[in-house]
Amino acid sequence: MKDYDERQELVRGRAYRYGFFTVAAISSVLMIYCAFEQKDSVNVFFSMLSVFSGIVVFAAYCIWHDAFFTLKKKPTSYIILFTAITFIDFLNVYLRLSLHEKPIAEHFGDSSFALSLLGGVTFLAVLINILLKLAVDRKREAE
């Protein structure tokens, strides 16, 4: 048995396209910003922002079109995994902020802080989408 059925594979292909366009659009805006501001580079946070935004778009589209979970796995395992990842990411953000006392803007150049913050927000967004979709499905089934 395949992981996804034919409709889910189509939806995932479309979601991938939207995710890719999101990455391209945000990267373009950043490049234009760098060109106008005459900056040689942007910090880690902004350079990775497009990638994580693309992930959120891909995941959200799949979730709301019933193509995120495989045919065999149940949402519970994903919820547990994403909750753990979100917790670890935000814990690292908290530790970085409390251990290294410097203006918050300077933390965005720190790759560990930036990636943890982006990862935490990304997985939290995916988690919220999953929980909302499950609630909507349950409501529909009850009606």
Binding site: M1, K2, D5, E6, R7, Q8, D66, L71
Partner: protein, 63 residues
Amino acid sequence: MKNLRLKAARAALDMSQQELAEKVGVSRQTVNAIESGDYNPTVRLCIAICRALGKTLDELFWE
């Protein structure tokens, strides 16, 4: 366009969307999308559904 013939054939066998989905190896939401006309299945899936319900392609999918 809704596929009411598929829904009727499934209901005649007292089969739920979930049971049909498991028989043909797709998700319940995909069966629901086919019945509500939101998704046009491939011939391969149409044949699998026909076999599961004991019907012909003409009976279930031909206009």
